[in-house]
Amino acid sequence: MSDDPRTRTGGGAPAKTADRSGWPLWEVFVRPRRGLAHHHVGSLHAPDAELALRNARDLYTRRQEGVSIWVVPAAAITASSPDEKDAFFAPAADKVYRHPTFYEVPEGAAHL
């Protein structure tokens, strides 16, 4: 699961209005088990990092879904917007030689 963080700088979406209770939005990342990376699972509101962690535990790990949680203020995330995607990711599109499948391996050559 990975939503785009909703720091709104483009994409035609209206700017996010401030939370009236003054509780900022936090993005929550959970490591399901040892050996796996943290994954974005959702978001929540909390007044500070400590309560964000506690709320994240109660909201996203009620059934032992994780062994570690990160909370990140949504406002601290800088995101590429889909409008820029074409240009932003274009440099990777024409460099097929970065993939091993680009190369022909002569018959019989092992350990390549």
């Binding site: 994409g11 996010k16 209770s21 007044p47 500070d48």
Partner: protein, 369 residues
Amino acid sequence: MSGCNTCSVHGHHFPEPGDGPASGLLGQVEAAEAALRAAAERGRPGAPDGAAGDTDPQEYFTALIEADQKIEPRDWMPDAYRRTLIRQIAQHAHSEIIGMQPEGNWITRAPSLKRKAILLAKVQDEAGHGLYLYAAAETLGVSRDELVELLLAGRQKYSSIFNYPTLTWADVGAIGWLVDGAAIVNQVPLCRCSYGPYARAMIRICKEESFHQRQGYEILYTLAHGTPAQREMAQDAVNRWWYPSLAMFGPPDRDSTHSEQSMAWKIKRFSNDELRQRFVDMCVPQAEILGLRIPDPELRWNPERQSYDFTPPDYAELMRVISGDGPCNRQRMARRRRAHAEGAWVREAAAAYAAKRAARATAPTEVAA
């Protein structure tokens, strides 16, 4: 401790209805999750993922929908699509929050510690589901506070079902079996909704919801096999919850205002009447195993349609309840408003504490005198 720390509350076993409700529905949720991953790997045919290029945004949006790709928060989308989703997700979130009340009424009166622990966990899940959904709505550019205000002002709705009272303990069972059962039938197709954050929230919710349905079924099974008085109580609860549960699928297709466009946008995948039929077909064999009667004299198998014929719910009553005139509308809203008002000092205190700590962290260090 071993892997299962909830084993102590899972002691009771009852026959599972065939390849029936939860396993079948859970299978569908998993299939939806697999489809979501497969679509992500497939990408949009003929275009690198996300490449908007010079294409017209409306065309690009339509192409994504047609290719069964998910729309993500920062994608361009038609205003009406955004508005429809906000309305639907908000209404769904409000339903989860208000839905804590009918069952919450029974937490202090649950017949055993085991039932009480289960009911607490279930009501806590409802709160969690509400929060997942508010978070999904927020990706569309509204704030949770705005949505809560709209609910409290009566300008956004919640499901009509929660305006019915829970008169006996058996009602907690009937809600789990019928109300959560109907909700699952409604919600499983939403796991394939075209809007990514909503689809992902629904996958999470449906997986948790299946525990709700099973615990309700177990309560009814226990009562139906108990004393004559318990049996009668179970039957009475089913009698009262059957038609309101059928009404949860909304007005009949011929009167449904939002359906057609939502189907085209792949927000909605099946019509109200299709889902209602699916629910009835699922419940009849389950009721037989419970040994309880579905209160519909017209209910019978139709071999031609390979489905059950049934009496539709009273749609005039549904409209009355939706417009605010159900048995408990005023009570539910008054309680929510009171809870929100009484929690204000907690929200304010936590914000003040966070502000004070942040100010201290940035203030220059004082020199000791």
